[in-house]
Symmetry: C2
Subunit: 327 residues, 2 copies
């Protein structure tokens, strides 16, 4: 910056102003500074800028995994808005492990981010302490149920699963099984399971533990669970899955075994990724506004940073039951 200043015959302070508040600099000076910047190929040092201004323009986001369109959709929405406002995304994935979340958080906090995004509402005690003491806005995403720590952006996993199960009941299915992702430390997963149970109970159906399969995530896990379920419980006429990937696996297993979907058995997903609409049969699922969750999260964070917004708000981005061919 002092090189630029010398070339433009001003002090570094004026270069800094030309960059940040050009309105406060005279036209002639501004032109000289801009020419000098181009000539020197100067790139402002954000590290120095952040240190002296105590404001980093870095937003930290922690997700379970980016190997899933659901989360990458949110990340794309998030980073798009942030980039347009000259904020940068520091991204970490926990592989669904809350201890990893805590470690990532500790590392990331060293960069003194201007805001933090985490997934879900369950955190280790250490992580919770760091989040509260961080002194910056924190947004918890995806999971709306329960008492928020600061701000929450997402939808109700409980309600979404409840509605899907209720829809299946409404469509006439009698034995509805559930395949869901390991609920260990995963509050979204627990909520989906509980929503399913409540819908069945509300319809006067007896809960049947043999109809619930807890598995790892992924297409392969869905196939495996479907295989076991179809063998053990030929009375099942619908399989509700807590993710589209699981449902795709179930669909494939049904196809392998010569079951016709939805005639012999109905299948539903959760998430509505691109593939789901293209599958044969196309997948009945819960549409989640992934991109909007990301964009809204970014917006809230930026407004909070600007001081335009009170803490502790709650944004429900909603969900939609999308009925297609598979149920």
């Amino acid at each position: 910056m002092s090189d630029v200043a010398r070339l433009a015959r001003v002090t570094p302070m004026t270069v800094s102003r030309a960059l940040r508040t050009p309105a406060l600099v005279s036209k002639a000076t501004l032109a000289r500074v801009e020419a000098a910047i181009v000539k020197t190929g100067f790139v402002p040092n954000y590290v120095a800028g952040s240190l002296s201004s105590s404001h980093s323009r870095i937003i930290v986001a922690i997700v379970p995994t980016i190997m899933n369109s659901v989360f990458s959709g949110m990340i794309e929405g998030l980073s798009e808005v942030l980039r347009s406002r000259n904020y940068q995304l520091l991204l970490g994935s926990t592989n669904f492990d809350l201890d990893v979340e805590e470690k990532l958080l500790r590392e990331f906090l060293g960069w003194r981010p201007a805001g933090i995004v985490v997934t879900g509402r369950r955190h280790t005690r250490g992580a919770r302490t760091m989040l509260i003491n961080s002194g910056v806005p924190v947004v918890e995403t995806w999971h709306l149920d329960g008492e928020p720590m600061d701000t929450v952006v997402g939808f109700s996993n409980y309600n979404a699963a409840y509605e899907m199960a209720r829809s299946l009941i409404g469509w006439g299915y009698r034995k509805i099984a559930l395949i869901y992702i390991s609920a260990h430390n995963n509050d979204r997963s627990i909520a989906r399971r509980d929503g399913y149970r409540k819908a069945l109970a509300d319809a006067g159906r007896k809960l049947d533990p043999g109809l619930e399969c807890e598995v790892k995530f992924g297409v392969g896990a869905g196939r495996g669970a479907a295989a076991r379920l179809l063998e053990a419980r030929p009375d099942v006429d619908a399989i509700m899955c807590a993710s589209d990937a699981l449902a795709a696996g179930v669909l494939m297993e049904c196809m392998r075994r010569g079951y016709s979907v939805p005639k012999d058995i109905a299948v539903t997903g959760f998430g509505d990724v691109e593939l789901s609409a293209e599958l044969v049969p196309s997948l009945t699922t819960v549409h989640l506004p992934r991109n909007e969750i990301g964009r809204r999260t970014a917006q809230v964070l930026l407004d909070r940073i600007a001081g335009d917004l009170p803490a502790a708000s709650r944004y429900d981005c909603g969900f939609t039951i999308v009925r297609r061919e598979s149920a």
Copy 2:
């Protein structure tokens, strides 16, 4: 840090040493400092550390999109290794637009990263200048063909497509169509198309422009292209796709139209994402070592930063033709 120092009755310099080179601090002092760190909840300020040491522990990575298992697989490999060595990933996606790449690069360079990862070998003139002048190691990934700028980690898209096309010929297919992602500014895509053409030419087949479909990426694009191809060219007996997502779309369209794969028509992909092995029929495709590309890239970068490695190397992570049911 001075709070910690006061509590431990040492100077900040000793706290810094206790954190970075504990071997140079006496046992007793170390214990006092550690206790003080816990008591104060001190989190080192990396912004200040980077500024004073002129070393940031930030690695910048720019990919076309994270909405694709292929790239997210690389990112996971990359960030896993980086995290284990206490480096952070600053991630950007260009949406396949080289101008966006240049803008991202300009922003990211402000953080004075310790290394840079880009996708492909084609960049705007401005981006190329910034990369060369950055003064830090640069790794270009995915695309091995041609003259490297600095270091390259990936595989030969040309060879992979060539081998797949040659395999199809060897398996007895006569009219092999190609569906590939828009080649505009996408060197990987161009190389795949050229590899396909060369394999056909080497087998003495005449090139037929009507057999090549250039489309956008995604399952839907694959379905659309398949629909057009199947209508226009009933003589086609194999469709080679330049990505697994395209191939999944083709498979779905074939199913809709009652074509039996591979009896009526063969389909192949490129990438080998998780779904591909589970599809019915399972997809014959090119397996890419996505995770390894990421890990190797991280390794090279870290070695280069440590000064253990000469510039301008070339790492071929290879590929494998995986024959499954679809061809």
